[in-house]
């Protein structure tokens, strides 16, 4: 029972309190670049979530059962980058061949996922913090749900900001970053949940 609670807490923590975008500021490139239309933001969020979960599923055993016993834990970043790049390519190839409709909505965002540091950050955090396999999967699930939630919320806000009258100097990315900062402050409020 306590293990189930720890699993659920890790998901909620990764999603709200320790949100990958708003508290660790990983993956901001796609967050700012794609987060101006809800549909593209949702597609990007789904694609990134899928790769985060799959990468965590492979990277944790690779580190703990192969790299550490071999005395090569310093190769973790290199190994994770290889795993993520291969995963994104294979997923992209599969989607391109088998699902034209999915390719239509995700295709142009797929290459961006390889360079998304949120994916590498989660895999690295799972091993650096010494989490068990189940907890690292919970962390991956929570982080990806948090990424999806925040990128969609941000897209909704940016759609409204596009039509708002704002000073010329703030138009575009400056206003997006200010909005992200205010969202980060709002999400800090969730830290009180555990106390």
């Amino acid at each position: 029972m306590s293990y189930l609670i720890a699993f659920l807490l890790a998901i909620v923590s990764g999603m709200l309190m320790d949100n990958v975008l708003l508290s660790r500021f990983y993956g901001l490139c796609s967050f700012i670049g794609v987060g101006n239309k809800l549909k593209s933001a949702f597609s990007m969020g789904i694609a990134v979530s899928f790769v985060i979960i799959l990468a965590s599923l492979i990277c944790w055993p690779l580190y703990n059962f192969v790299l550490v016993p071999a005395g090569l834990p310093f190769l973790d970043t290199l190994a994770y980058i290889l795993v993520i790049a291969s995963l994104v390519q294979v997923v992209g190839l599969f989607i391109k061949k088998k699902s034209p409709s999915l390719y239509r909505s995700l295709g142009i965002y797929l290459p961006l996922i390889t360079t998304n540091c949120a994916v590498l950050g989660v895999a690295q955090a799972n091993t650096d913090q010494g989490l068990s396999f189940i907890l690292s999967m919970a962390n991956a699930l929570g982080t990806s749900a948090g990424f999806l939630l925040v990128i969609c919320l941000f897209a909704c806000i940016r759609v409204r900001l596009e039509s708002a009258s704002t000073p010329k100097a703030l138009k575009g990315i400056p206003l997006a970053l200010l909005t992200a900062g205010i969202m980060a402050i709002a999400f800090m409020g969730f830290m009180g949940i555990g106390q």
Binding site: G35, L67, L82, L93, K171, G172, I173
Partner: protein, 62 residues
């Protein structure tokens, strides 16, 4: 198990991922675009997904 066996396994696994990456990269490039997605290629080339408003190339295309 001996340490060198683990090192060998790591090298084999990393080489495997490297081969998978290059194979899928080449296969991705060779696969023709699905029907109805031809305009996506144009979108990609015109940087439609990029949000960088200060990029000189994007300004030119707009």
């Amino acid at each position: 198990m001996e340490k060198w066996v683990y090192i060998l396994i790591s090298v084999v696994i990393l080489t495997f991922f490297l081969v998978v990456f290059f194979w899928s990269f080449v296969a991705y490039k060779k696969t023709p675009l699905p029907k109805g997605c031809e305009d996506l290629d144009k979108e990609m080339k015109s940087c439609a997904t990029c949000g960088e408003v200060l990029c000189p190339r994007k300004k030119k295309e707009d």
